[in-house]
Symmetry: C2
Subunit: 493 residues, 2 copies
Amino acid sequence: MNRAFDEVKKYVDKAAAINAALSLFDWDNETLAPASAAPHTAKIIGGLSGQYMEIITEPAFIKMVEKCEREGGLSEAEQGILREVKEEIEKLRCIPPQEYRTFSELKAESSRIWAKAREEDNFEAFAPTLEKIVEYQKKFASYRAKEGQQIYDVMLDNYEKEFNMETLDAFFCELKESIVPLLKKAVRESEKIDSGFLSAGYPRHSQERVASFIAAYTGFDFARGVLSVSAHPFTTNLHNHDVRITTHYGKRIDSSIFSVIHEAGHALYELGIREDITLTPVGQGASMGMHESQSRFYENIVGRNEAFWEPIYNEVAEIFGKPLVDVPLPDFIKAINKVKPGLIRTEADELSYSLHVLVRYEMEKLLIEENVPVRDLPEIWDQKYEEYLGIRPENDREGILQDVHWSQGSFGYFPSYALGTAFSAQLYHRMKEIMDFDGLLRAGKLSAITDYLRENVHQYGKLRTSRELIKDMTGEDFNPRYYIEYLEEKFGK
Amino acid sequence: MNRAFDEVKKYVDKAAAINAALSLFDWDNETLAPASAAPHTAKIIGGLSGQYMEIITEPAFIKMVEKCEREGGLSEAEQGILREVKEEIEKLRCIPPQEYRTFSELKAESSRIWAKAREEDNFEAFAPTLEKIVEYQKKFASYRAKEGQQIYDVMLDNYEKEFNMETLDAFFCELKESIVPLLKKAVRESEKIDSGFLSAGYPRHSQERVASFIAAYTGFDFARGVLSVSAHPFTTNLHNHDVRITTHYGKRIDSSIFSVIHEAGHALYELGIREDITLTPVGQGASMGMHESQSRFYENIVGRNEAFWEPIYNEVAEIFGKPLVDVPLPDFIKAINKVKPGLIRTEADELSYSLHVLVRYEMEKLLIEENVPVRDLPEIWDQKYEEYLGIRPENDREGILQDVHWSQGSFGYFPSYALGTAFSAQLYHRMKEIMDFDGLLRAGKLSAITDYLRENVHQYGKLRTSRELIKDMTGEDFNPRYYIEYLEEKFGK
C-alpha cells in the first residue's frame, strides 16, 4: 500500500475538477456565451487557471509526489498518473504564476477576437493578440527548454513526444516527394468529376438532421455527448460520459459531414477511455497525433469509403432531397474523393491535406525559430499556398485566419494532423489483415471496427504512448511508408 | 489604505471564480448536459464545492478578514464585500467539509433525478433523494442555529433576512383573509372569459420566436445573455455581462410567455448590477424576495397590463397566426388575467398565486419543524390544494413534483415569491406617483421604467437590504397592504 499516493490523489482530483471547469468554459465560449461576456469571463478563467497552477506547484504536493515515487508499489494506472503529474509539475513550476494567469486570461478572449477578425476578414484586428500569444508561448517554452534544446522542439513535445524538427523535417520531406507527383496526376484525373451537387443550396435544417444522423451512425453516443455548432469544429471532453463535438454549416454539405465524422472520431477515443482512469491525468488520448489518427481514420479511411456509405447513402440523400437524391452512390463517392487543391485545410482532399499541414509547420518554424514578425505572416502564407498548392488566397479569411489553433497558443499542434494521418494508415494496414474491413462497413457493422480500436487504443488513454500503441497493434515501430502506400493505392491507380 | 482588504480580495476572487464555474455547471446540467453525464459530473461539482469551502474557511483567510475589519477605512462596496464574506464564513465554518462536499455531489445529481421522476410521474423515484436532502439541510441549519432559534427560521434567513415564521405567519394570514373572498368573486366573474385560444396548438417554432421577441422587448440584452430551454424555467448569472434565462414550451402559450417575462425580470436585475461590484459577493440581488419582486413585477404588473401589450400585440399575434390573430387585444388581456385556480404555481393567476406559495410554506414548516416524513408529502399536498384552491391534483407530476426547488435543497425559498410580489406592489404604488406608468408602456418606453429600477434597486446588488431599498424608494417600511390594495383594485371591481 502506497499511502502517499492517496494524498497525491487528493490534489490530482482537485486539479481535475478545475480542469473540467476550464473545459466547460472553453466549450461554452465557443458555442453559446453571449458576445459581450468575454472580458469578465476571462477573469474567471484566469482565476481558475491560477488555482490549477497553485495546486500543481504547491510545495507540499511536490514533496508528496516525490515521496510517492520513493514508496513504489503502484498499479499501472497509478504509475501513469504519477508520470503525468510529474510532467505537469515540470511544465508549470518554471512559469511565474502571474504570467501563467495573464496568459490564461488572454487565451480566454483570444479565440473570440480571432473569430471576429476572421468573420470580418481583418488580420490587423487579430495581429496584436497573436503577437502577445507568440511572445508568451516562446517565453514559456524557453523556461522549459533543456540545455541546447530549440524552442520549437519544446513546443512540438507538448503534442507528440519523440518527434522533433529533425524527425518531422524528414517525415514531411518524404511525404512531399511522394505526394507532389501523385497530386498532379490525381488532379488531372479529377477534373472531369462533378461535385457541384455537394453545394446545391441544401437547407440548414437538412444539414443538421444529417449531422445528427451521421454522428449517431459513426457511433457517437448522444446519451454521453452533445453535438453543437461553432466557427471551427472541435471536440471537448469533461469525462468519458460527457464528450462534446461541434460542426459548422455552410454551402458545402461535405464540409459539415466530414467535420462531424472527424470530431466523432475524436469523441469515440474519449468515450472509450477506461472507467478507472477517466477524470485523471491519464484519462485522455495518448497524444495529439494519436488523437488525430482516430479523427482522420474515421473521416477518411472510413468516411470516404464507398463501403461506409452503402448502407446509409439512400437515407442521407433523401434528407437532402434534390439534386442529391438523383445522384448515384458511385458519383457521390467520386465527388467526396475529388482531388483539387483548395484553400481550406479542413475541406482538403486526402492527397493535398498534408501539404496544408506542411505550410503551417514551416510557418511555425519561421515564427518561433526565425522570429519572423506576425505582420509578415499573411504574405508568407499566401506565397506558400501558391508554391505548394498552386493557388493563392484572395483574402485572409481563407488564408492566415482560417485556423483557430494559434489563437489558443497551440504552436506545434499542426504536425499532429499529418502524423496522425500516417498513424491511421499504419493501423488500417494492420486491421485489413485481421478483419474484413470493407465487409464490416458494408454490413453496417462499423461498431466492430470501433470495438477493435477501443480495445487496442482508446481504453488506455495516456497509459501507453503512441509508439507503444502502434507497436503493440502492428508489431512494428511507426513507419510512414504505410501512409504513402495508402495514398498511392488510392490515388495512383 | 486598508492593506488587509487587498489580501482578502485575493481569496474572494478565487472563491468567485469557483462560484462562477459552479453556476456554469448548474446551467449546463439543466439545459444541455447529456443524460448519462451526471454521476461523473457530480464528482467534479463536489470537488469544486469542496475547494470553495476550503477557500472560505481557510484560517489564514479568516484571520485576514478579522484584521481587515480592525483596520477599517473601507469604501461602501468594500464594507459590503466584507459583510457578505463574514456571513459566508459563519455559514460554512460550522459544516464538516466532507458533509458539505457530499451534499454538493448529491445536489448535482438530484435535479436530474427530480426531472426524471416528474417526467415519469413517479414520486417514489425521487423520495429517497429528497429524504437525504432534507436530512442534510436540517443538519446544516442546526449547526448554524443560534440559541433557541428554530431550524426553519435559519433556513428562511438564507433567502430573506428579518422575516421568520412569526412575521410570515402574520403576512400569510393577512393575505389569506383578503384573497379568499376576492378569489371567489373573481372566479365567478372569470367563468365567462374564453381563454381556449391560448392553447390552440401553436407550433413550437412560433413560441420560440415570440419568446425571443418578448425577452428582447422586455429589455433582455442578447449581447449579454442567452435564452434557452429547461424543465423548470430559471435564471443563472455568471456576471453582469452574462446572464442566462430559460423557458419551457408546452400547450399554453401564456405559460412560456410569462415564464420569459418573469425570468427576464430576474435577468434585468443581474444585468443592472454595478460594474464595480459584479463578480464580488455583493454583486447579486439583495435577497431572493427582492429578486422575486423584480421578476413578479415584470411578469404581472408590467406583463399582464394592457398598456404593455398595446405596441406589440399585433406583431405577436401575427407570429402565432390563427386563431390568435383574430382575437382582439382586450379579449387577450382578459384571457391572460383570467382568475381560475389551477394546479401549477408558475401558471397561476395573480390572485390565487399566493395560495400556491402558502401551501408550500406550510408544507415546509411541517417537513422541517414537525418532522413529517417525506413519503406523506404527496397526500398532504393534495389535501392542501383541495382546501385552499378547491382542486385536487390527479397525479404527482402536477402536484408534489412540480417545483425544482426542494431538489436543490432550497427550503425557505418559496415565501420569497409572495414577499417579492408584495414588495413589487409597494414599489409600483410609488412609481405611479412619480411617472405616467401606463403612458410609458403604451408608448413602448418600458426602458424608462427599467431605468428607474436600475437606478433605485438593481445597481446596488447586496449593498443595501430589501427593506432599505424599499424605504429609500417609498419613504416607508415594507407594508403588505399595498399588495392587497393592488389585488382589490384589479380584481375587486
